[in-house]
Symmetry: C2
Subunit: 198 residues, 2 copies
């Protein structure tokens, strides 16, 4: 990007700091922004600032919200007996969109990754423990089906061992609409291991 | 993205308007921006506004610049006898980085695409014609080697037919470092068609 004027270089550098955006994509996006109307560019810039200024964590479940309590935590219709534990807000959104859960959530904001310096203190684990007692009867661990998600699930299971709460894990298996011959070995082996009686 | 708070939805929508950024990528970028420091988010937002406010087109060649004349057009060391015509500023940058050209440029800001409503009036073609006369002896057409680039090259060649200027086109052929067995048929056929005597 040597030949570009200073403000363009700066924009390319800033865009290149976003995840998954390399120099080529950043240059393409910068070119687009330069061609867009000043109005459109301002809309984009403002929406970036607005999201930082208005969005915070729900004080109960750490979902993203504009208020102190998120829409789910403040909904009297939600079942407070079950808490579904997820790594990220996008997982919460995905489960909400499936329409299969009417309880509340707890967002950990990450998963254990000791090599990246992410231990239990970096996650909202302590805050989950503080929510126990009272109505809570079941903790459904919906961390991702990978090494980090599994170790996080084990950590939470261990911490809840002596507490009066049922701990469950979402099911692993062959995804619907998939084809067995294209399913990876690990998933197939899980789908056999967790087979259920018809 | 139904479940997200309003400012997040807005940011996802704004990011999703960028080229090649779908809803999933926009959501990932929005999540990153929400986690970044307010300082970093402000840097990004400011660089978007800055580029729109400071960058304009060179009044001669339509390259992007902060000044009235771009660095190349205002450099007395550049050869004014040859003008290299490109579609976009990134092509200009690429040729500059190759270090193989010491003349000046003309950026068309696009290529002919009648189906998308892009005719000669949408390109800086008239402005190229106005630069002729005086020192200019050669127009090197460096539009892209595809249908749009080729029809643009033909248009310019036709417009320059009766003008006292040599019109050339960059060479097409097998790229260096490539392997003939992986080179597409069109390129191979061009490399035979444009073969030169050793």
């Amino acid at each position: 990007m040597t030949g570009y004027a200073q403000p363009i270089k700066r924009l390319i550098r800033e865009l290149g700091r976003l995840p998954g955006i390399g120099e080529k994509t950043a240059t393409r996006l910068a070119t687009f922004i330069m061609r867009a109307s000043l109005e459109d560019a301002k809309q984009l810039a403002e929406s970036i600032i607005e999201v930082k200024e208005k969005i915070r964590f729900c004080s109960v479940c750490f979902n993203l919200t504009e208020k102190d309590l998120c829409d789910i935590c403040s909904d009297p219709g939600r079942d407070r007996e079950a808490i579904c534990v997820v790594e990220e807000p996008d997982a919460l959104i995905a489960i909400e969109e499936s329409g299969s859960f009417r309880g509340t959530y707890h967002v950990l904001h990450g998963a254990l990754a000791p090599l990246d310096g992410i231990g239990p203190e970096q996650l909202k684990v302590k805050e989950l423990m503080e929510r126990l007692g009272g109505a809570v009867k079941e903790i459904i661990i919906a961390t991702n089906p990978n090494v980090q998600g599994e170790s996080t699930a084990l950590l939470i299971t261990r911490l809840l061992k002596d507490r009066d709460v049922k701990v469950t894990r979402i099911a692993f298996g062959v995804p619907l609409g998939g084809d067995l011959k294209y399913t990876d070995k690990m998933t197939l082996s899980k789908s056999i291991e967790f087979r259920r009686t018809m």
